[in-house]
Amino acid sequence: MSNEEILHEKPLVVHESDHASHEHHKQSFISKYIFSQDHKMISRQFLVTGIIWAVIGGLFSVIFRLQLGFPDQTFPILEDLFGHWAQGGRLDPEFYYALVTMHGTILVFFVLTAGLSGTFSNYLIPLQIGARDMASPFLNMLSYWFFFAASIVMFSSLFLTTGPASGGWTIYPPLSALGDAMDGSKSGMDFWLASMALFIISTLLGGLNYITTILNMRTKGMFMTRLPLTIWAFLFTAILGVLTFPVLLSAVVLLLFDRHLGTSFYLSDIVINGKILPNQGGSPILFQHLFWFLGHPEVYIIALPAMGITSEVISTNSRKPIFGYMAMVGSFFAIAILSFLVWAHHMFVSGLNPFLGSFFVLFTLLIAVPSAIKVFNWLTTLWKGNIHFTPAMLFAIGFVSLFISGGLTGIWLGNSTLDLHLHDTYFVIAHFHLVMGVASMFGMFAGIYHWYPKMFGRFMNNTLSYMHFWTTFIGAYLIFWPMHYEGLAGMPRRYYDFSNWESFKMFAGLNTFISIVAMIVFAAQFLFIFNFFYSIYKGRKLTEKNKNPWAGTTMEWTTPIHPPHGNWIGEIPEVYRWPYDYGKDGRDYIPQTEPIGAEEKQH
């Protein structure tokens, strides 16, 4: 773990190194574990914070699933836990909506953006491109601490008397702008907006750093075309984030103005609670444009890192080069560009000009093309491989399966004609949970299982990992697959109770089933969480012999088992080849750092 340990393990190497840049000065607890500027420590901070948020966000979904699955029953324990929010053991509708809103916000922003991209961009960029750290370790540290501050603000909003924000994670005004419209739109919404502003700063600091690092700090020989696909994915993710998060900030600021300064950016002609408001001339649709200009690239901010990790893990464990490296990079690029041109497909029925809507149909369905290329390339990578089913590999294959299932329904929803029927139904819930929720979660799990030995110098328990995978994978399909049918019946999302609806009440039994599976899957995540924390201290240790446990070609495996701040002791190795020389010339793998042999054909 510590630098001291490394000193004891391999004192010779350290003394041999005459580079002043990595003197192993003693670090205090605070500078090493808390205000650390080491990208590896920051990455672990993002990861652990993300895990904590994932548990909270997941728990919220279990609680609101109780209401959906068992609308007639009471659970006294809820009253013990939440007091007046669950009087008589039944969730208050206001609280139900608060849980739904927080579940979305937490999972989308805090877990799948900060937890996923924050963890792996930080961890892998310097290690895989051969840099000692990020371009600015200090900004990198700030990036985490802004995220931490955002977390604290969001977390404290849970304890407000009027509750946290509860107008849905998309916080459409006027609902979110008027305290009279809903309790959650009182101070809860201010906390939400403040937290999101801090979060946006964190993302920008991180993103600028990732881009600068990737462009400027690659080691000798690491041309852009020799970057592992993970790095390409992180690069595009960071670019998307830097270009779109500021737009969300503008939406947030204008909403704050409308809430507190009497402006009318989003408000017009409103009578609420018997009060006639003076605001006129604003447009709630403007907010939706601003929100989805971030909101749609955001789903690619979530999906691209998962795709990058999946590509890397599938290639490594098939013992075969990734198929169509340039096509993969090209499709990342295409997805990144197109993701800026599809935002209004969330707004087909919002009152948007239908003619304008038609362009968004076109671009949305076009984005299916690069996505299809990716899937076919992953399949071809598996073809004639020699597959090692490590836990990471299982999750990567799971990612591909979920991405196909969820991606194909995107073709339905992106077509405005079908969206007329399916918009805001459970079909949408099924679609985005499969394609970006669970799938990206799987990408994240694949990443954690794959790089855990590098991160902590120990292995996770395999049996627990396999159980974790199979329960989660089967559970995800059991939860979300039947939801398509509910959506095809027009069953709307964000309903607290369906029993008064002649058109939707026939799904009561199915809702109970889904809730039970959701609870089991949530419980199964503790297999992972226990495994993760237990193995940090008690897992089997890596030895010098198996310090590259998955026989990977990329540069991170050339560092010591516990890389010091600075990553390599002595010179940073030079790179001579692309990262996917698996199974070439009869050799299992050839590290990137190995020069091209005299007889060898360069890729």
């Binding site: 324990i77 459409y172 609902l175 008027l178 809903m182 017009s268 409103i270 009578v271 609420i272 609670n273 006639i276 447009s283 709630p284 649709i285 098939s318 080069p321 169509g324 096509a327 919002s350 239908p354 809507g357 076109l362 369905l365 076009l366 299916a368 093309v369 076919f376 399949l379 071809t380 073809w383 020699n386 597959i387 089913f389 299982l394 294959i397 399966s401 196909i404 194909l408 329904t409 073709i411 339905w412 004609t417 079908l418 007329l420 029927h421 805001d424 328990n461 627990l464 697959w481 019946a489 027009g490 109770d497 609806w501 002649e502 058109s503 939707f504 226990f530 089997r540 199974g583 010339d585």
Partner: protein
Amino acid sequence: MNTFFLIAIIVLVFLVIFQISKASEYVSVLKGEEKSRKQNNKINAFLMIVFLILGLIGVWWCNDLFYHKTLLYVGSASSQGKMIDELMWITLIITGIVFFLTQILLFWFSFKYQESDKRKPLYFTHSNKLEIIWTGIPAITMTVLVVFGLKYWFKFTANAPKNAQVIEVTGHQFGWEFRYPGRDGILGRKNYKLVDPAKGNPLGVDWSDAASHDDIHVAATVHVVVNRPVKFVINSMDVIHDVGLPQFRMKMDAVPGTPTTEWFTPIYTTEEMKKRTGNPDFTYEIACDQMCGKGHFTMRGVIIVETQKEFNEWMIKQRPEYLRAKKFLANASADSTKTVAFVNQPAK
């Protein structure tokens, strides 16, 4: 007490799992790690193919259980919805083929190419031919879907036919109001600042516009005529709502300050739908599909589709809203100083 037992059982189950997992790790070290790794590999490869087979059976079973509960089973109740269903079937067939093809390949490859000492993995980095094929085919397919989709889209979003019955829909927390234009066929002007339920003007109709005097206002339930296009002019009084009509396959947001429209032609009366669905309680429901506050899930409206004759019988019984509001107007003009005061009175 039950909760306590439940928690105790869950904790015990977890403890057992952890113990087994720890033990299995020791066993694998004893057996030789390489050997146990290969064993695990075989098990997982086998589970992959099991998952595929059970998954395909599950897909069929799920369809068997729930297909007849979807709206595709009875078909749409509007002529526009029929076209939407048609496109839905086209899309379903295309995405269905891709779904089965890719999922089967994924799990079949995973099983077939599991690690074996005999196999040398193929060093296969790219193939322009393959890549062109699977860029081209999706691109062409998507074009077909876009063309179909937009053809219908422009049809539905174009102006409603001239003979359409115009009805104004107003959403508010948490219910629906409807206004018919009356005999003159013109909806009277509205101004949200005139809203005053206590004075018989919950919608803020401007009575100085004579066209408003025969307008008919009904709450929660709207009557429309079968086989005649209906055009909803949609407003909202407070936050965004959405007029969701699942049986007609239509949806449109109600946006405060920005009127929107949606039109469709119902082709079955409510009575006919009761027979078609075999559900004697069948009703056409308007579901609010845009999160609008804590009563969102109760924001229900009803559409009664009936024959022209039934509609006329119903309509003749309705009285213009103006007649109810008139007496307040008389008072107001008698004491004009009070007309502004209602502005801040709370609604009931």
